[in-house]
Every structure is written in C-alpha cells, then in structure tokens.
C-alpha cells in the first residue's frame, strides 16, 4: 500500500496532473507523521509515507490549498472522504483544483493506544499479519493489531471512498458497527452519573482548541469563541460552566455537519472522549429525523437545516425518553 501511494503521488507530479501533493510525511519515530505538501517526486520518494499511523484527516487543509494556484492531489482515507464531500457541500473547497486519491484504509493505529497497553519508550514497529512487533527502549513487544487501533477506528462506519478521482486499493462498503455503544452506555446511566462522568472528563479540558482546529466542520473564518463581538468569546475555560459551554456549543454547531471522523478525540492532549458528544447528536438525529450521514452525498439536506411537519416535540426529551 505504502509503495503504491508513494508511486501514485510521484507519478501525479511527474506527469503534471498536479503541481502539489498533500500527504503524510515521515517523522522522528515510526508514528509521528505530519501532514505535508510535496512539490516534487524526489521529495515524495524521500519523505512521504503511508503507514498505519497516518491518522490525520487531510481534507481540512484543502480549504486553503484548493484556493492556491495549480492543482493539488490529496490522499484521503474513506472517513476523510466524508469530510471532503461535506466541505464541498459547504462550498469550502474548490473541487476543480483538487485531484482526490482515495486510499483504502485498514484502520489506523495510535501510539496512545500502544501506551495504554503499558508499552513505554516506543522506538520501532513492524507489522506482521495481525500483529505489531513494537521495539521499545525496554525490549520488543508483540501486540495484536486490533489492540493498537485508534479509538475512532474501532467503530469504523464505512470503507467507502467518496468522490475520488482515483482509488488505491478497492472500493469499500458501509459497515454495520456498534459505534453508538458507548453513547448508549451513557444514556443508560442516571443523570447524576452522566453529570459526574462529563464533569470528570471536561474538567480536564485545557482549552487548547486542538479539537476545534483539527475538526473539518469547525472551519469558520472566526470561531464564535474567538470573536470579541460574539458575547461568548473566551480564551480559557475559566469556570466549569465555560468548560461545558465550549463543548456543548461546538457539538451543536457541527451537528448535522460532523462526519464522525473522530479527529477531535484523536488529538485531544487530555484524552477527553469528545467524539461522544457528536455521536450522541448523530444518534439522535438518526433516530428522530431519519438516518443521515454527513458527507455521504451532495444532495441530502442536513437535518438541522430541514424539518418535517411530523417531527417529534422537544418534550420527547424533557419528559423522558432515555429511560429512567
């Protein structure tokens, strides 16, 4: 896979299909790849990688990159293509300047997942079938690939590549997953338990804005939280209320636009499961207004910008629906 990604990228540049390639660049370690724009086949062959640690969703970079001169080729995993389509739906990407290469994805691994398994001092990693052989400062460890998977990949919703000009690997299908299991588990708790759960999680928030800045849906010119005229501007969560406010409003603003790519949770330095807030809203919208997947097509109206005469009343929530 890695070889065909690199060769495709190099040949796109060599044949002049594009002038730039947006991909992943190797780092100091096996896992710390950085999104990067490559302008020559040499650079691509030298530094570009496609490994199970290329979690970063590159679609958001296209907002700026697709407005520059010349065509840019971009490598997108299935879940990234949902963001790609959604951003186009919101007129944020100049599609004609983009050559989209879909890359089938085996599921991405995460150094944090390895560390959660108790591994320390990660220095190398080789994949052998379903096993990762991880070199550490304290010796070699074998880890089942499934255990190294990034949290978001454990509930992969689709392997389908949307709106690509070329595909590496095979076109995939939508998957039946239990991605709402954790949401359901929380719903089954009492309000007090849920409050305690979220207080514990959200009180970790340091308002670094990584979740917001990585989020393809959070692509506002100026976020309301940065806008001194919005009345809600704040730079730090100066009280527990503000910790809640930021994440409630963010979830609400991306409702119907969030493709559930899971980047927010991946990048959170404090390991807050932020995606659960978005998933909760996705689950609600699916149940209340019909199944909708943001970025799955160009036509369907997002549920928050639509209605039916028969929509349930808000009392379905306030008078108790989630069981008591």
């Amino acid at each position: 896979m890695q070889r065909s990604v690199i060769e495709t990228a190099a040949s796109l540049l060599e044949t002049g299909v594009c002038t730039r390639v947006l991909g992943w660049k190797t780092g100091e370690f096996f896992y710390d790849v950085t999104p990067a724009v490559f302008t020559s086949a040499e650079e691509v062959r030298k530094d570009m990688v496609f490994t199970p640690f290329c979690g970063a969703n590159l679609s958001k970079y296209l907002i700026a990159e697709s407005r520059k001169e010349g065509k840019i080729a971009v490598f997108l995993k299935p879940c990234d293509t949902f963001s790609f389509v959604q951003l186009q739906k919101e007129h944020r990407i100049c599609r004609e300047n983009v050559y989209a290469v879909g890359v089938q994805c085996p599921g991405m691994s995460d150094p944090d997942a390895l560390k959660a398994l108790g591994l320390k001092g990660l220095t190398g990693c080789v994949q052998e079938g379903d096993t990762l052989r991880v070199d550490t400062l304290y010796g070699e460890k074998a880890v089942p690939l499934a255990d190294a998977l990034s949290l978001r990949c454990r509930g992969c919703k689709s392997k389908r590549l949307h709106d690509c000009d070329a595909i590496i690997g095979t076109q995939g299908k939508d998957l039946q997953t239990s991605r709402f299991a954790q949401v359901e588990a929380l719903e089954a708790m009492t309000a007090e338990e849920r409050f305690a759960f979220w207080r514990k999680e959200l009180s970790k928030c340091i308002r670094c804005n990584a979740c917001r800045n990585v989020c393809p849906a959070c692509s506002c010119e100026t976020c309301v939280f940065d806008n001194p005229d919005s009345g809600v501007q704040n730079k730090a969560a100066a009280s527990s209320f503000e910790e809640n406010l930021f994440h409630i409003i963010r979830a609400f603003h991306v409702a119907g636009r969030c493709t559930d790519c899971g980047e927010c949770t991946r990048v959170c330095p404090q390991h807050i499961p932020l995606h659960l807030l978005n998933r909760k809203l996705i689950k609600d919208m699916n149940t209340l207004y019909g199944v909708y997947q943001a970025g799955a097509d160009f036509e369907t109206k997002p549920p928050m910008l639509a209605f039916t005469l028969e929509d349930p009343e808000a009392s379905i929530i306030t008078q108790g629906r989630n069981g008591q």
């Binding site: 896992y31 999104p35 724009v37 001092g121 340091i206 990584a210 730079k235 980047e263 390991h271």
Partner: protein, 333 residues
C-alpha cells in the same frame, strides 16, 4: 540521606499533608496530573504528567481583581495572593528546570507578585527518572534526569525512597518528618539513557549564528505548513509563559483574571490595528525562535526548552521543537 519504605509511601504523603497541602502526580480520568493529595490517592505510574508542573505556580486561570458594580458606583477588591505553604512531590528533572526558566521571566523586575508568592510558598520535591520515554531529550539540554534538583531530590530504588535536601526549605521539611530513616541510595546505572533516540540533539548552533539568519530561513514556510494553530504545545509546555488579561462581566461583579494565551493563536496580541503576525508561519516561527534563540539571547544562553517531550507526544500533527531544530540546523549547513 533520608530514606523511606516505598510500600508505605501513603504514610509519608499523609505526614506531609498533615503539615502542608500536598500535590502529587496522580491519574485523573485516565490522565496523569498534579492533584491535591487526599487519603487513598495513588501516585501515577506514568513517567510524567500530561500538563506540566508549571500549573502550580502559573495556573491556567488566575483572578487578579474584582470590581463590584452597584448602581453607578464601582468598588475594587484586589485578589488575594496565595499565602498557604504547599508541597509538590514528584516533579521530574525537566519540569524542575522549567522553574528556572519561568523564574527568569516572572521574577525579573518588576516581579510577578502572584507567581512570586506561589514560588515562595512551595517546596518542590523532585523525583529522579529511571524509565524515560523515547520522546525524552532533557539530557541533550544539560539536564541530568537522575539528579533532579528542587528543594528536595528523591530517588526510588530497591523498594525504598531516598530523599536529599538541597535547600534550607527542603531541609526544614525533611526535619519536620521525624520518622524518616537514614540510608545511602545504591548506585544505579540505567543504561537506558544512552539508548534515547534524541540524546544527541545539539542546540548550541542557535547561538552561533545571527538571529536574522534563523528568522529569515525559507524553511519556516514548509515547517509551519500543517500547523493547526491550536495551543496544545503551548499549554502542555512547562516553559511557555504567555498570558492574556481579561474581564468577566458576571452581573454585579466584574472579575479581572489572567489566563494562558498561546502565540500559536491567531488572536494572540491582537491590537487595534490587527495582529503583527498575520499568518501561521509567523506565529509558528515566534514560538520556536523564542525557545531556541530569543530566550537564550536574553538569558545568558539558557534555552527555553527542557526536553520533557510533551509537545512531541501531544501535537495533533506531530510537528515539534525537535523536528524544527533539526530541520533548521540541516538547512543552515
């Protein structure tokens, strides 16, 4: 050297907490952080906390003053500086060095009274490292992770904790703990430090060339290209010290507080005319040149980085000071 049985660490914590407030690195919702010790709170097994120890001297949010508004009259009440003594246990050598860097900024005249008060009231107990992560590079910044410093240095070896007071404050604290035993810590030779992949980083080159050479490097464009402009590197960094002062209008009371700010943010030092660092390239360059060039230039060569490796672990796009320093160095050859 004082010593204590590690299996009874809780009793030592209880003894300290009986005299002063004690903070130890503990897991909170899966994330290690300096936490106020209470009976039952266990020390984290992680090497270091997610946020650095600077939080205890320079918290993310700190009230500076309050204004009461009643009708058309306003009364001002300044916030109280902390007056209570407290102990921080388990600070690693890297974080301990970061206090020197913060001191050089906050304690320079005019001293930041809030920071000063917290520093004065704190006793820092450091803890030597034995199991570094691959992202650790304090050794290449002249820090010895096995001789961590602070008011009291600690080592854990062969089931015992060894404590060595480095300052009068440290001695006073140890003296107040009469149950400590005496003993000499065994010599250890953890060869793992020699295997650290980043042990040979060399930052000296940044003082050897003129500032403008670094400033005008064409590499900033590509290095900053994928930066998201979030503040995670800044906020986990033990040496970042920028803050913003803001007012919160909460009805009858206006509270003036300061909170961390990040030079990576697009509205950092926003002025009436706009911002002087219009794109992420300038912001990105500011952060790294501040650590590598500006701070050392102004502080006798002291590099504004302690090699804790937090930014290596936390950056969403894995761009960090190591990559920047290496690229600049290579690019300058």
């Amino acid at each position: 050297m004082k010593t204590w049985n590690l299996s009874q660490l809780d009793d030592l914590f209880a003894a300290i907490a009986g005299r002063q407030t004690l903070y130890i690195p503990a897991d909170a919702a899966g994330q290690p952080a300096f936490t106020r010790w209470e009976p039952g709170l266990a020390m984290t097994r992680a090497l270091n906390t997610g946020r650095s120890a600077k939080d205890l001297f320079f918290p993310q949010v700190e009230n500076l003053a309050a204004f009461q508004i009643s009708g058309k009259t306003i009364s001002v009440s300044p916030a109280q500086s902390p007056e209570e003594d407290y102990v921080i246990f388990g600070v690693r050598a890297c974080d301990c060095r970061s206090f020197d860097i913060l001191d050089s900024v906050f304690l320079a005249e005019p001293a930041d009274t809030f920071y000063q008060a917290r520093r004065a009231h704190a006793t820092v107990i450091t803890l030597a490292c034995t199991e570094p992560e691959e992202t650790c590079f304090c050794t290449s910044l002249g820090i010895d992770p096995q001789a961590p410093g602070g008011d009291i240095s600690c080592w854990m070896a062969e089931g015992r904790l060894y404590l060595q007071a480095n300052t009068p404050k440290g001695e006073a604290l140890l003296a107040s703990l009469p149950d400590l035993g005496e003993g000499e810590k065994p010599e250890t030779n953890p060869s793992v430090f020699d295997k650290l992949p980043l042990k040979d980083l060399d930052f000296s080159v940044f003082q050897e060339k003129p500032l403008l050479d670094w400033f005008n490097s064409p590499l900033w464009e590509s290095l900053s290209q994928s930066c998201l402009g979030c503040g995670s590197c800044t906020f986990v960094c033990p040496t970042c010290q920028c803050y913003d002062v803001r007012d919160f209008e909460g009805g009858g009371t206006v509270r003036r507080f300061r909170c961390w700010d990040s030079c990576m943010y697009s509205d950092f030092t926003m002025m009436a005319h706009g911002t002087n660092r219009p794109t992420q390239k300038e912001r990105f360059r500011q952060r790294f040149l501040h650590k590598l060039v500006y701070h050392p230039n102004n502080h006798q060569g002291q590099i504004g980085c302690v090699g804790c490796g937090r930014c290596l672990q936390k950056c969403p796009i894995s761009m960090n000071i190591v990559k920047v320093a290496k690229a600049l160095k290579e690019g300058s050859v």
